[in-house]
Symmetry: C2
Subunit: 386 residues, 2 copies
């Protein structure tokens, strides 16, 4: 169990033919309360899919009743017809839950190829909502598989607090849209918390976790992270304690997304230290995470510190490029603008790779998670839609 | 002949053992006047190689007398020793030219792996300056080959005006540092123009040419474009005419760099139309040029317009994402936020690829040149320094 680990939730996942493989592709999570609350964060891409446009409105309407998610098609840039499909999907869920007037409280997520969302796509989803609802169960294990696209494994996380729990499922072969697979996350809790408290906790938890996962620099049109609370435990946790637990859950999911990133052979943690601000640390780390030459070097097990310096030199962060230290897997290769230890001392064959950059400009730090640039990444993303 | 096509210049290129292949790796261009003038533009990367740090000072000292360029080592992040190597190189050139006090008028460029610049590197360059100077000739053809790194062909351009000429050579397997090969350009002219006129013309010419070539998004630590005028023609061209000629020369070199980009199988021109400003058009085009999913799709001959929209949605440019047209090689695939012509009508097998994006937000336009993301790119850049 994952999203149904907390009390007050039912879920289900089925195959409706959206995926050519015949694998499960439609999932539903229903919040049965008794004190439903919710918070949602969306992609910051201005090009947004129809389910994002719809769900933004739902999020403004107060606690969400349910969230339905499909893989096998992003329903993005499919025009008014696509938006209508999203609305009809929410209406079908509400009708089947016996709350025909509650469609505007049903969140919708889609993931897959942009431009996919025709009549057949609509029919497969809408016509199968009754079966999906009929399969809802409080001990369901089928939902996490139904939201996957190019993912090779299910991603879930659970946290047990004092009298309350958090459950979560995620999909995405890297945040920020490898293969436009996009990232979708559903987190549930039976804690008793209101929308505002959930929103604070969710924004606080996504910033240092998902927001710092940058597998391939490509931002999705369909990303959505949803947090649903049922209140079924009857326990209101300490807000700081809940926030810390949520960070842990999001961090676990971010690590799972990184570990399953399309085509990757290295999971790279870029730790920036000594930054004048946290924003500077993030900017410096991200500039390295998005540098194709650095990423290709890691694929080749080459601790190419020169590419790190070339990348961070493009930022506006406060530091002196000739006073920076760069270490790979604990070996300091560059010190104060010149070569330090020989690169031969550094072994990059393990999948986990740790790059440490000390800017000597302050006391702030941040870690960006990324992956290497590999032949398999190119292959998967040159062949995805053909 | 290239940089020696204009009167008043001599050049030479020799092999001094910086490259493991034994190919030519040291070049020199000397401006014999009678009315020397120069202008230089440098990489905007804050992480700058020692020859850049040196040449910035030279550029402030008035007309440059000569420029010496080596491949086989970037002399970047090599500390004080590396800077001293650059200074000694300039001094050796000045001494051999019989102007021992003129070292501060000798520009230096280096290209190759960052962190390379030890005693052996220094000795090979400095000790071979006498031979290099001895080989200087007004009908030289050896200089362009000596500045290449991963380039597969020499890049040169010539323009003939009324009584004056422009010659040029370039290296770089893509602007902005594929393999940290970096881009170096030397342009000569026998026109009679002063430093200020050359500077205006050079900045005006690099902005729409080299600055809009973005092969892999990675900015170099060693990029330098140098324009030297000898005045040997005795002709002062109309400034607008000279500027237009210089744009043509730079544009030709930019196209040659794109065509020889590391591992590329497509030369992609991203034409942005209907932008509210030229800056918006450049920003939108660059966001697509730097999107790995788009670049991998082109490699797979997949006209994936969804990835174009996902990329431009991350910009701050003024436009409505749901009112954008996207065409590939003349076939409009997306119109007003929905699919238009079937992708099967679009043939991406030719190397030249034209992507047109109409933002319907104004009258401005810009074209960014880029390349696709291929297995060969990953291969070359994962194996470069190992």
């Amino acid at each position: 169990m994952t999203v149904t680990t907390p009390a007050g939730f039912r879920s289900a996942g089925i195959a409706v033919g959206l995926k050519s493989t015949g694998k499960p592709d439609l999932a539903l999570v229903v919040n049965d309360g008794p004190a439903p609350a919710s918070a949602v964060v969306f992609t910051s891409n201005r090009a947004q899919a129809n389910p994002i446009l719809w769900s933004r409105k739902v999020a403004d309407n107060g606690p969400a009743r349910a969230i339905i998610l499909n893989s096998g098609g992003a329903n993005c840039f499919t025009g008014d017809f696509g938006y209508e499909t999203t609305r009809l999907t929410a209406e079908a869920v509400a009708a089947q839950l016996g709350e025909a007037d509650a469609a505007e409280r049903v969140l919708v997520c889609s993931t897959g190829l942009i431009g996919t969302g025709d009549q057949s796509f609509r029919d497969k989803i809408v016509n199968n909502v009754p079966e999906l609802v009929a399969r809802l169960a409080a001990d369901d294990t089928t939902a996490p598989a139904a939201i996957l696209t190019t993912d090779s494994v299910e991603k879930t996380a659970v946290h047990t607090g004092e009298g309350w729990t958090i459950g979560a499922m995620a999909k995405g072969a890297g945040m920020l849209a490898p293969g436009l697979a996009t990232m979708l996350v559903v987190i549930t809790t039976d804690a008793m918390l209101d929308d505002a408290a959930l929103d604070r906790a969710l924004r606080g938890a996504t910033a240092p976790s998902f927001d710092r996962l940058d597998s391939d620099g490509c931002m999705s049109t369909n990303d959505q992270v949803t947090l649903l609370a049922s209140g079924a435990s009857g326990v209101t946790p300490d807000e700081a304690e809940f926030a810390a637990a949520l960070v842990q859950v999001c961090d676990s999911l971010a690590a799972q997304l990184q570990a399953d990133a399309e085509g990757a052979s290295h999971d790279i943690d870029i730790e920036v230290r000594g930054a004048a601000s946290e924003a500077d640390a993030v900017e410096v780390g991200r500039s390295v995470a998005r540098n194709n030459l650095f990423k290709a070097a890691i694929f080749g097990n080459d601790p190419n510190w020169g590419r790190v310096l070339a990348a961070i030199g493009t930022t506006d962060a406060a530091f002196d490029p000739y006073q920076v230290d760069v270490s790979f897997n604990g070996v300091r290769l560059c010190h104060a603008g010149a070569p330090d230890r020989p690169v031969s001392e550094c072994d990059l064959t393990p999948r986990r790779t740790h790059v440490e950059i000390d800017l000597f400009a302050g006391a702030h730090t941040a870690t960006i998670r990324t992956n290497d640039l590999t032949h398999d990444y190119v292959h998967e993303n040159s062949a995805y839609s053909s």
